[in-house]
Symmetry: C4
Subunit: 233 residues, 4 copies
């Protein structure tokens, strides 16, 4: 079942080592078929060179396995919560990519220092707080998703304009319209995280990019007036 989505999720997973975003098995990509109400996700702890489209795991929206086979990623409950609350997304990525994770460990959001950031991520990439011991105990992975989505709602952040978040002392999640776009955003986030750290090293008083420049670059690539690329409108 869901052969096309399994292939897509498999290929998106394989991009993580290609782009240097994962060591060992420290990452996972999922995709959703919203019509069927099913998600496809990487199996837990299986090495990337052992992955095939066939061993991707299918779950319903409550997290039940709907086929015999591997256990899903241990982070599946976070993915499910994000799919449930961010209704327009089609793919999710979690990694421990080095620079983004370093910001998460530092407990800081990533300021928008330039156009590379503004091209894809509108504003500061947020860093959500630690879960409480009670929240961890009650359901660590699901509550990670609750924390992220509550934060976006509370801060009135548009998850389509800010398709990335850092979880404090943990690492990043990114998403997009499809699994490939979620991986694209994971690569952007890592590059942006690296350059922001170096920017602050070079100038500890560095200021964020002016709003007018951020707007120009974001809307050059997104929305009805976008003119980057070959798209027709």
């Amino acid at each position: 079942m869901l052969e096309a989505l399994k292939k897509q999720v498999y290929e998106a997973n394989m991009l993580l080592p290609k782009y240097g975003l994962v060591t060992f098995t420290w990452g996972n990509v999922s995709g959703i078929d919203r019509k069927e109400g099913l998600i496809v996700i990487k199996p837990s702890g299986v090495e990337y060179d052992k992955l095939t489209p066939d061993n991707m795991v299918v779950l319903d929206l409550k997290g039940n396995k709907v086929e015999a086979g591997y256990n899903p990623s241990s982070d599946a409950a976070t993915h499910l919560e994000l799919y449930n609350r961010f209704s327009n997304i089609g793919g999710i990525v979690h990694t421990h990519s080095s620079w983004a994770t370093s910001w998460a460990q530092a407990g800081r959001g990533i300021p928008c220092y330039g156009t590379t950031h503004a091209d894809y991520l509108y504003g500061q990439v947020p860093c959500v707080r630690n879960l409480t011991p009670e929240e961890i105990e009650e359901g660590y992975e699901r509550n990670t998703g609750v924390l992220i989505t509550d934060y976006f709602q509370g801060q009135k952040l548009d998850y389509e304009a800010m398709p990335a978040v850092l979880c404090k002392n943990h690492g990043p999640f990114t998403w997009g319209k499809a699994p490939f776009e979620a991986v694209h955003n994971a690569v952007v986030l890592e590059e942006v995280a690296k350059m922001a750290a170096r920017c602050e090293q070079i100038n500890p008083q560095a200021a964020m990019a002016p709003q007018s420049l951020q707007d120009k670059h974001y809307y050059r690539k997104h929305g009805v007036n976008a003119y980057y690329g070959q798209q027709k409108r």
Copy 2:
């Protein structure tokens, strides 16, 4: 038309991923045929592994497409302005290469800390200010070129001796007599940007290289008394 220049611009574009200067499509190279008054530039948003000499875009000096085909790089208007004002250059490169972009985000020019820098870039690499909201609104890409060329003119900088600039909160542009030389300068800039940042980390009081050393190295490679390499004079 312009088959030889298209091939040259294509090959110069392909050097950007080879030298690790671009992620995804974040860079572009152009070249100019000054006799014909035409430039050749990378198409906008097309991935490097999809590029061919044939899909390079030909523009006249006002930016009009002179052949059917792809849209040009969204930065074409900046290239055009540089070609119009820097009359001896034959190629231009724009990237978001990591270290040079980090300096641009930090809003600092790159001091000349050593001979690697002095061999190719005479003096501090300048970092030009942000455009105003009005300048962005009026014509972001063209005004980027106006800002750069006005800055060189105002500071009496020799664009042939300083074939590089940083745009604040954005990234670098480099140029040269031909597209390959512009790419060469983009690689030099990235290497120099990396070593300058590390130099300041190792010694926050580091001073610029003495002028006599800068002169020695620059003129060992440039001008009538150059003796580096195999060239005959």
Copy 3:
């Protein structure tokens, strides 16, 4: 003799350059056959591309060579001491991997800043003191092992939950149930060392991950209630 273990130790040694943990010959892996009371270790100073399973060196637990052939790694006496005192380990790795060695040179243990660390290393990675001139003179390599194991005993550290140590001004040792697991832990340590340094650069006041989060991640992967991966219990 010990063909299977020699092959395992050989393959584990070859993973060190694959994972970028060694320059030249600066690392070694060993394994133990506890029933036979014999260890297998890399020969001293032999380049990785010259290694074969056959030139691995077999030692008894007093360090005597039990076959003709190469000299063992000069660090063999450290390995022996660790095997003697850490009775459940089956493999040991020593490298001069860049980030872990930088922490060792800095004389600091590596704080647990996040879940990447907590997934495999329970608590702060310890950094043991320098040997005294007398200890060096008396038996540098053996006393390195004595220092490490005494430290774990004195601090009541569980060597199975903390399979890594830094030796001040020297570098890391890691271990595991088997040679491959010891290499896995060496890779984890290097990645964790890198991210901890960057974390402190990004936020000099960064705090360790909350204990509840460390526990969650460590026990998600270890012990009777682990649920990461495909293992059956």
Copy 4:
């Protein structure tokens, strides 16, 4: 002439890009035949993928070309001065390798923070001063060699125990008994430079490795009591 040495020098030059020590043509290796009183050195400005054993350049000890062919490296006069004054060396390397050059730009010698350093370089790697404008004018490349060798003599440094130097605002030179050993030392220097910078970042108060530890590691690999590797004595 000197076919064997040309081949050796060629192969040693080709190791520079292999080990990531050079960008473009920014490095050179030479070797000496002391019986013949001739040196072999890389041609100036020739790209590494164009090098062959045949285009290596032969010079006498006064720097005269003794065969038709390419111009020698512009740094040949520095090499000659080092060969003249350091009578036991057989090979020299100059690069602009990134970390070593960053220390040179910072104007600091590299403290011995650990055993990786002590294994090959006995004590702090020195950083010599800038040449004066008069010294540059009078003979830049030769006077670079004079400065280095005078410094070693004045400081009573043993060039065999410290086969490396940094030239302020320029970059490193290393040497050894043969071209390959000189390259080996260039790789060691780069690795040590990287780890020393990171060490200071992790602990700005980091202290040098104790002398007893430095001695132990240096003499474990060098001199009559060495026991590292497979050598017989």
